[in-house]
Structures are given as structure tokens and as C-alpha cells.
Amino acid sequence: MSQRIRTLEKRLADIVGEENVSSDPTDLIPFERDDQFFLVPPHRPDLVVRPGSTEEVQGVLRLAYRLRVPVVPLASGINRKGLCIPSRGGILLDLRRMNRILEISEEMMTATVEPGVSFGQLVNEVKKTGLRVITPWAPSTASVLANYMLRGIYGPATRYGTDHLISIEVVLPDGRLLRTGSANTPTSRPLPYCNLVNGPDLCKLFQANPGTMGVLTRGTIRLYPMPEVMKPFMASFPDYESMVKPAIELTVKDVVEACWTMTFTPSSLRTLTSGGRLEGLADLFERDFFSMWLYVAGEKWRAERDEERMRKIVEEGGGSLLPLPPETEEEMIKDEIWERTSVRGWKKGNLYGCSFYGVMKLAPEYYRVCREISFRYGFDEFHYEAVPVAPFHGQLAYNDPCILWDAGDPEQVRKMRRVHREIMRGLLRVGIYGWFRPFPGVVESRKLGEYGRLWRALKELIDPRHIMNPGKPPL
């Protein structure tokens, strides 16, 4: 270890306590790679620091800014797409000690939380009220704020969209504190939560920037009434094209809260259902299984009405509703409220995904392009999903081409790099809105013209010493 790191460690220990700093390689190794290591090369931080408060984060950033040390914030410990790989070393800021739920306001339908608060933790508290948290179908250990900052909601996004963040508190790279929304409004008494205040909503400026503009230390999010009834359905369709019209109609008419159009190759279905209640399902299919997963939710009268409307739309579209065992139904409801089972996607060992925002009516084309590339490289465990997202203008849809593969096999790793490049190029040819996670290699601001130039200029303005998560977009 260099003298510089030793000195830095001592000074960081003065800020957060020596029990919360380490430069031992044993403590650093867990942060050096994630399961996308084949796309974002592993790199070890020099130190891991665990601040417990906004003031400690400020202290760490002031020091890092002065010494020009890179800082990579990590909210609840889940790292995807290399977003938190410290490509240039420096400090890995592990924010999991900051896991307080500061307030749940039933009156305002809001929760104010720190970045280390996970969805599981928050759902557990919010369910004691009559409210609910809008959750992604990700592991419940994911950070609420990190997810919302990256606009990470799909699933319930058909009705609820991705915009659930009202205001945030950010420590800027030089240690100054920025509060957005009504938290920053000068009034004689503190007001509740609103993002529509004086001037632009600066909260949005920090969204989709993977810790490259500062460190989020708290955020206020929107909560929603817990529906009286939630009922999941699964429908099968003859092909992808036939799912598009019903999906659009169900979304535009606000019939369902979630509408997944999903396809599975028989081999992917076999892996995903192995050991589960639906094991054996894959044997029924000789070709891809085209399905739609739907959730009707709301007050009883509304759920009954919507179920009827949903059945009609599905049947008119050529779909058939499938019987669901009660246990599967129950599990699907818990997935929607609590999350978790999406990690089944990793049952092969690893999951390649290259999620993006695109146009719902183009989903069949996205699917065909990605499937063809995947099969050409010998990856037949492929599935695809597209979820319409509210507000649905422009037919906004979250899309994810998924490949089940084995990153322990060096040959597959080599192939997967080529698959990724081809899928990116293929999707851009079809036409997409943008990539879901801003990870290096997919988001290239230099190809974004004036928009990209301004994005980089804003980054330069906020982080002139380039200490925040260097090597990540905007590049």
C-alpha cells in the first residue's frame, strides 16, 4: 500500500471512524467486479469507506475533492452493468449504513429515506399503512433511491410509470449540500413535499447519472394506495405481433397495472421453471412461448370491471387466458408487491440483459433481431420482455432481451462480448429511445450531438475535478 493511501485512510478514519474504513484487499475485492465483468473490466478500489450520515459524506467528499481522489458511491450493495466498478480506483463509498427510513407520511403519501434503504425494508414498513411502494421486479435488496434515480421501474410501470421521486438531497463533489424541490423553498414554516417549485426540477438533472454528479443522501418518494384487490393473469398468444395490439389497448384504457409481453424459447423456459411449480411446462412447446402477464388491481368494483375488460381485449386479440395454480397466483402477487423471484433469471448461472426504452409496436422487431443474434452464437436460452410504461405517449415501453448463459466458461465470455456488440448495433438500426442503465459502452454522449455536449458541460460544471465515478457516462 502506498504512503498516499495510508495517509488518506487515516484522514478518512478521522471523518467516519477507523472501524468504517479499510484498505485491506480482502475488503476491496468484493467491489472489484460484478456479473457484467465481461463488458466492464474488473478494477479494485483503493479504499472502502462506510459513512453513516450526510455530514460524514460531506467530509469524505471535501477531502476527496481537495486531493482529487475518485469516489464511487454504492447504495445498497447491488452493482449491475459495472456502474459501481471503480474503474480508476479511489474510494468506494458504501452507503449501507445510511439505511434509515426517516419518515412515512400517510397524509402526504410520501416516504423519506436514505440511500441504503432497500425495497424490502421500505415495503415492510409502508405495508403497515394503507399505502404501497412501487417496486421493480428486482431483488428486494436493491436500493429504493438508486433504483428510482436510474428510473428502474418496470412491471407496475404500465400504470404507475417510472417517476416516483419528488425531491432529493445531494452532496456535491466539493462537499456542498443541494436540496431540490420544496425542501429548498424559503418559507416561514417547513412545507411538505413538492417538486414543482421555483425554476426547473433539478432532481431530474441527477437522474440516470450513475453517481457521476454527487452522492445522494436522502430522497422523498411517492407512495400509492394499496389496491383492495390484486389479481394476476397469464395469457398465451400465437406470436409476438398478436400481443402488441392488446398490450397497447390495455395500457391506453388503463385496464391493468402491469402488462408484460414475454417470450421464452423452450430451452429458456425449461431452465427458468426447473424445480418450480411450472416445471414441465416447457415440454408443451416446440417453438417459442408467447405470453402476456397481466395484473388487474384496484378497488373491488374496479378490479371486477377491469377483469372483464381485460378478458375481452385478450380474447379479441387472439390470446387465451391460462389457468394458474393458486400458489403461482399468490407468488405472482408477492412478486408485484414485495419483489424477489426475478433472480430466477440467473438460474443458468448468469443473465445477459441489455434493457432499453423503445416503442411498443416495434417490440416484435426488437425481439426478432435479438433472438437471431443470440441463436447465431449458440445461445438458445433466450427470452424477451417488453412492458408498456405510463405515460404511454410515444408508446413508451421498457424492453429487455435476456440470455441465460454461463460466465464461468471463457468461450462463452468471448462470444457474449460479440453478442452484446451486435445486439446494440441491431437495436439501434431498428430504432430505440435510449438505454435503461447508463453503463459504459452503451451510452456514448459523443454520439448525442448538442445534447451530449451539454450533458458533459453540466458534468464539468458540477464535478470539475472529475472525482465522481470516473469512467462512467457522460463520456
Partner: protein
């Protein structure tokens, strides 16, 4: 598993951290499950962190430091992480086996175990028990005449023989009342080797296994009954691997044996509210969850479950040499368990492992509020 196969498998941990929490889909509650991550806080102490440490060690990217030893030798081997991960992700290895394998490899290379873990190994070598006690005092607790030969042998274990003697006495009392003949090995019973195997000290463990099996052969044993969950797991899972052969013996935990031989109708508890702590070696380690519960339900109409039970059980914090090397951590973990037990309104927290009882009792001296008992003790009281 060969090192290259293991290394390949380690790439399948996706760091979702679901292994740190109990299964909230079934519990409908968000509860931590990994004591070492909850206590030490650094990612390296979580199962996914240790998987990365394992990968780096196997790939030759990490030179072990004192911190490496702290991270790996504070692993409780409780298997809570594997219980959550298994079947949910593509990771096919057993976390407990990976971490034990890693400790053994480090010890082979001259790294670790920790000083107190080495100390008990020296005692085992010299005294055949980890407590520094004389081999001749192994049955000092015994008040009855018990034969040294027989088809059924009660393997007492070191903790019950030297520290929690009330468990050994109670077990013998219940065995006698059951009317089924049984024998004790006496001084011929040596440490089963569990404290060594959990801390990577495999060499001596093989010798112990061979001796114990030979002693059982000489005693004419066909069936071995254990009141210690650790001994039971070691005989059942580790001995066959260690020796490369099946043992040819019926192995039973006392809860399984008692359920077979005791007349259920005669069991009368004292009416107190009871809850049960699953020992990791018995529950997640051997899949024995129901027999202790069936007995407890016979004993008490007010048997209640803690939220974290069975596969979702919170470890008492004693195992894998942790109580010796990290006593504060061990007591912290036990205190959390006692709080959970108290939260059910239970007056008695029952376990079926002397080492769990020992650690929970030690913690209870500080926090109090609930009495800790072994299953055998309750049964002996009920039959008295």
C-alpha cells in the same frame, strides 16, 4: 470439486444479497439472516463478499492477510445464505462447503486458523476434547451404571461431557426411562472433530473419525444417538467424505430417537410457553426440523414459533470456532436470538444442541428474560 470447477462456479454468484435476508415471501416480513454481515458490516463478511474473496484466493489474486483470516474464520458455517440462495439462483455450490474448503486450503498453506482455534486443536490432540479437560473425566457427570457395549450407543459429545453436563444427565435419564438398552463409549469417545473441520484443521479430524468408528465397532454399535447437533452432522456428512466410505451405522439425533421410543401420551410439560431454536447443524445442516417440534408439541400446548425458524432460523453465533475466536460476536448473535424468543412471549427457549444452549445461556446472563433449555432436559422433567 476440483479448484478450476469451483472457480468456474463462483462466477455464478450475482451479488444479489438475497442471502443476507430471510425469505420474506413466506414470512411476510423483512428480517436479516446473516449474523456476520449484520455484525461486521463490511461486504467482505457477507456470503457474496466471501464468494469474491474465495474467487480471488483460488485465482491467486489475493495474498491472505490478517483481515482475510478474520473474514473467513468468523464464518459461522450456519448455512443461512445457502438456504436462501439454493434453487433461487444458478449458484450450484453449497456456501458452507466452499468456505470450509477455503479455510482448509489456507491452513494447508500455513495461514490460520486463529490462535484460540489452534489452542483447542492442541487440546483435542492431547486430551481428546477441546476444553483442556482430562480424558478420564469424560463421564464424571454419570450417576448410573451404563454398559460400554450395546447395539445402541449414546455419543455424548465434548460440550455435554465437560460443560453442559445437565444435558448428558438428562439424555441418559430419558434413555433409561424409554426402556431401550444403550451403551456409552466412556473414555473411548473422542471429540468428533467438528471444531477442527469447521476451522480447516482436517488432518487431526481424520484420526478422530477413525478412532471413534473403531470404538463404536468394538462396542458392537449398530445405531448411534447424538444429543449434540454438531456431532450428529459431523458423523453423518463429514465422516463419509473424510474417510471415503459409508459408515454402515444408523445415526440419529436424540429428537428422532426419542420420537420413536417415547410413549407420547406420557409426556406432560409444566405448561410454560415454549419456543424452539433450530440448531444450524441439525436444521439446515441435516434437514431435521420436525422431530423436535413434534416432541415439544406433546410437551406443551403453548408451543410458539419464532418468526425466523426452520430454514430461516437465525444462528445462535457459536459454531465453527467463532465462540472461541470471536466471543463478542458470538454473544451478540445469541442476544439477538434471545430478543426474538422473548418477543414471542415464550418463557423457555429450547434448543437441541449443547453448544447452542451454552452460547444462548452465556448471552442470557447479560440480557435475561427467558430460560434456555435443551430438549432432553424438558423431556427428562416431563418423564420424572
Amino acid at each position: 470439486m476440483k479448484p478450476e470447477e469451483l472457480l468456474r462456479e463462483l462466477y455464478h454468484c450475482l451479488h444479489c444479497h438475497l442471502c443476507n435476508f430471510a425469505d420474506w415471501h413466506s414470512l411476510d416480513e423483512w428480517m436479516p439472516l446473516c449474523p456476520s454481515y449484520a455484525y461486521f458490516g463490511f461486504e467482505s463478511f457477507s456470503a457474496s463478499g466471501k464468494m469474491e474473496v474465495a474467487r480471488a484466493l483460488l485465482a491467486g489474486e489475493l495474498r491472505p492477510s490478517g483481515r482475510t483470516l478474520q473474514v473467513l474464520f468468523s464464518d459461522l458455517g450456519c448455512g443461512a445464505c445457502h438456504a436462501q440462495c439454493h434453487g433461487l439462483t444458478g449458484l450450484k455450490v453449497d456456501h458452507v462447503e466452499v468456505f470450509e474448503e477455503l479455510k482448509a486450503r489456507l491452513v494447508e498453506r500455513g495461514y490460520g486458523p486463529l490462535p484460540r482455534q489452534k489452542a483447542y486443536a492442541r487440546s483435542i490432540q492431547k486430551n481428546r476434547n477441546p476444553y483442556g479437560e482430562k480424558p478420564g473425566e469424560r463421564t464424571s457427570w454419570l450417576e448410573e451404571e451404563v454398559p460400554e457395549k450395546g447395539e445402541t450407543v449414546y455419543f455424548v459429545g465434548c460440550t455435554s461431557s465437560y460443560r453442559q453436563k445437565e444435558i448428558a444427565r438428562a439424555t441418559v435419564e430419558v434413555l433409561l426411562r424409554s426402556g431401550e438398552p444403550f451403551a456409552l463409549l466412556g473414555e473411548e469417545e473422542w471429540c468428533c472433530g467438528s471444531p477442527l473441520l469447521r476451522t480447516g484443521q482436517r488432518k487431526l479430524a481424520r484420526e478422530l473419525a477413525e478412532h471413534n468408528l473403531e470404538a463404536l465397532r468394538r462396542a458392537g454399535a449398530r445405531r448411534v444417538v447424538f444429543s449434540c447437533a454438531g456431532c450428529y452432522r459431523t458423523f453423518s456428512r463429514d465422516y463419509p467424505k473424510l474417510l471415503g466410505r459409508e459408515l454402515g451405522l444408523e445415526l440419529l439425533h436424540t429428537s428422532q430417537h426419542f420420537l420413536k421410543v417415547l410413549p407420547g401420551g406420557k409426556l406432560r410439560g409444566d405448561g410454560r410457553r415454549i419456543t424452539y431454536h433450530d440448531p444450524c447443524h441439525l436444521g439446515r445442516g441435516m434437514g431435521v426440523y420436525d422431530p423436535p417440534r413434534e416432541l415439544l408439541r406433546m410437551l406443551s400446548r403453548s408451543f410458539v414459533e419464532m418468526k425466523r425458524s426452520r430454514e430461516n432460523s437465525w444462528c445462535c453465533g457459536a459454531g465453527s470456532g467463532v465462540k472461541a475466536a470471536f466471543p463478542d460476536f458470538a454473544l451478540w448473535s445469541a442476544s439477538r436470538r434471545l430478543e426474538e424468543a422473548r418477543g414471542t412471549g415464550a418463557e423457555v427457549l429450547v434448543s437441541s444442541c449443547p453448544f447452542c444452549k451454552r452460547n444462548l445461556e452465556d448471552a442470557g446472563r447479560k440480557v435475561g428474560g427467558v430460560e434456555v433449555k435443551d430438549l432432553s432436559e424438558l423431556l427428562a422433567e416431563a418423564l420424572a
